[in-house]
Symmetry: C2
Subunit: 136 residues, 2 copies
């Protein structure tokens, strides 16, 4: 059973807060990078590109963790530990990164921010089922 994300922390994944996204490198070192995220039903969706370190780490070990901190309130944060249960490389992955660009950057054409990636990378949605949620 996926864990539930309490209503009082959902805003952290709905507002344009850059989150810390942790995967594990093959040598057991956590890799933590700033990423955009969205809450979709009970899942957290992250979007990256095929073949990157993050992508390779997740395929080797789908246990990942997201930490979202309210930049205006140190006592409001959520840690979501979970498992990537689906890799979506369909057209939906492009639609999702464009949606995130709209929310986070005010322009839903992602490749206007990343012109060198256009046509050269395969976007991927990592759909995370939460297994444990901590926060306040």
């Amino acid at each position: 059973m996926p864990a539930n994300i309490p209503d009082n922390v959902k805003d952290l994944l709905e507002r344009p807060i850059v989150v810390a996204f942790a995967t594990s490198n093959p040598d057991g070192q956590p890799q933590v990078t700033p990423v955009w995220a969205s809450l979709e039903g009970g899942q957290v969706w992250i979007n990256s590109a095929l073949g990157r370190r993050k992508d390779r780490n997740i395929r080797a070990n789908p246990k990942v963790t997201v930490l979202a901190l309210d930049p205006e309130n140190a006592f409001h944060w959520v840690e979501i530990r979970g498992e990537v249960v689906e890799f979506d490389e369909s057209e939906a992955a492009l639609a999702h990164i464009n949606k995130l660009a709209g929310i986070y950057a005010g322009n839903d054409d992602y490749y206007s921010f990343n012109p060198e990636g256009k046509g050269k990378e395969q976007r991927v949605i990592y759909k995370i089922n939460p297994t444990k949620v901590n926060g306040m």
Copy 2:
């Protein structure tokens, strides 16, 4: 040889920015929590208490990672991957948490924020030697 923390990201560890601190749970799930941090010479110091999940994780696997994001500028962040090379449980650990409380909360008496912990917990400094630094 420890990696060098470039001057252009040092402010992220000198300002009162709550950082994401990642350790690995025994099952390989990243644990990521918001913590205070300080830059001390070339090391990053984190402060927690003996016996907590974080403490136990670090003793089992000293590879840890810190991500500091500028809350005002999404293009200014640093990821520091490193290894905890010393656990300091001396009086210095209390002095350090008080120093952090002063920087982050404007009051260098940590236990004024955490009265229930006073006299009941052993503070520990985790001294991290950076091995790889990414950022902008």
